[in-house]
């Protein structure tokens, strides 16, 4: 356990200390912005979970309670919501940039795949998080999204059943989405991010040669 934690810290430290060429700097700027926003999401998310109640009877009530009665609840909920929106926008821009930089090819393309998985996890966060407000928009949004899942050939119906916990969006869906949103996705994203940074320092550094002045 100890050595594992050490490895996590070392990966982060190396990623932060590594000199980057001007060509890489533009890419890394967005990556670090996304990491910052992810940290903001973790802090505000933990705080919101103190008051949020993931049951169909009290979910909406508890969101209203956070917005109206808890001091600065409106602020923390707003920060959580808007930095999520910003993460989607930045993630899209980063994917487009990486695509035009040709990162999907060559020996380092595993880096691109992990980046795509990270972008998908941002979208999964958005999907599961939007249901938690448990108002009409949230409910019908989830109903629509589950119909999309059902449209996937062969496995679609089963996937929708697993995600929904039934044939209709209901109490089981809320519980599942909540668990995915606060337990499963954060850890998946964290380890994908570590892999992404580790590959950044291993592969990309070798691919982009630095000029003598930068050395």
């Amino acid at each position: 356990m100890r050595s594992k934690r050490h490895g996590v810290r070392r990966t982060l430290w190396r990623a932060m200390q590594q000199p980057v060429s001007p060509r890489q700097a533009g890419m890394m700027r967005f990556v670090w912005l996304l990491i910052l926003l992810f940290a903001v999401q973790i802090v505000t998310g933990i705080l919101l979970s103190l008051y949020y109640q993931p049951s169909p009877e009290s979910a909406y009530e508890s969101v209203v309670f956070i917005l109206r009665d808890v001091s600065f609840g409106w602020l923390l909920r707003g920060v959580h919501y808007w930095s999520a929106q910003l993460m989607i926008a930045l993630g899209m821009l980063q994917v487009i940039r990486a695509f035009y930089a040709g990162m999907y090819k060559g020996p380092g393309r595993i880096h691109w795949y992990i980046g795509m998985l990270l972008f998908l996890s941002i979208l999964a966060f958005a999907l599961t998080g939007s249901l938690l407000a448990w108002d009409q928009t949230a409910y019908w949004g989830a109903v629509g999204a589950m119909e999309w899942v059902e449209a996937i050939p062969v496995v679609g119906t089963m996937m929708a059943l697993v995600l929904r916990g039934g044939h209709q969006v209901g109490a089981a869906t809320l519980g599942r989405f909540y668990s995915i949103h606060i337990l499963l996705l954060p850890w998946i994203t964290f380890y994908l991010l570590l892999a992404h940074l580790w590959l950044q320092s291993r592969i990309r550094a070798e691919q982009v040669p630095m000029t003598p002045k930068e050395k």
Binding site: V43, V70, L76
Partner: protein, 216 residues
């Protein structure tokens, strides 16, 4: 000013550099070390002209050597900037911390409006009298009926949920001034348009204190 070159810089390069430097009217002092070649120049050299000469030569680094007052001045400025930055960092940390602490504290509404309040004292409320108190922001009537029993019911008529009931001592009823609705001390409708009985509350007498409470 000093000029720094790679340790394996060829002699011709060093000589041509020296010719350039001497054209500015200063002597050229070369020292070769294991890690770099250094050409030291006296502080009298025209730094602008020197920069211009060295602009084309990518293999040379031009490094200014500061005079002591200049060094002290720059060090002071660095120190000031560092403490300014630390101060601003601290300030924004506190600014971000205030909402978080505020969020963690239980909401004021919950703290100041408990589910149980002191409804009055026994000697304040003689028989066939009522007293208006507030429980969680809602008006509640504490009633002492003609037999000396205490009751507590919501003071809002259930007809429109806005009119406040008044105690009618002659009829021993709670009367609504708006549409002639009336309730008994247990909250049951006895006259008029109200569709449902009044919400009732628990009454507890401890010594001479009357407490009223609701569930939850």
């Amino acid at each position: 000013m000093i000029l720094v070159l790679e340790p394996d810089a060829p002699q011709e390069l060093v000589e041509s550099l020296c010719r350039d430097v001497e054209s500015l009217g200063v002597t050229c002092e070369v020292s070769r070390g294991p890690r770099e070649v250094i050409i030291a120049l006296p502080p009298t050299v025209d730094s602008v002209e020197l920069q211009k000469l060295m602009e084309e030569r990518r293999e040379v680094d031009v490094i200014p050597i500061l005079t002591e007052p200049e060094y002290v001045r720059q060090r002071g400025r660095r120190k000031f900037m560092r403490s300014l930055l630390a101060g601003l960092g601290l300030l924004s940390g506190v600014a971000a911390g205030i909402p978080v602490v505020g969020f963690l504290l239980p909401p004021r509404k919950q703290l100041s409006q408990p589910n149980r309040v002191l409804g009055g004292r026994v000697w304040q409320l003689s028989r066939n009298e009522t007293k208006l108190v507030r429980l969680r922001g809602k008006p509640v009537l504490v009633i002492n009926d003609e037999f000396g029993n205490y009751h507590a019911v919501s003071a809002l008529c259930t007809h429109m949920n806005v009119c406040q009931l008044e105690w009618d001592p002659s009829r021993r009823l709670l009367a609504c001034p708006c549409h002639d609705g009336a309730f008994d001390v247990h909250g049951n409708v006895v006259a008029g348009p109200p569709p449902t009985p009044l919400q009732t509350f628990e009454v507890e007498v401890q010594g001479d204190e009357i407490y009223i409470s609701r569930e939850g």
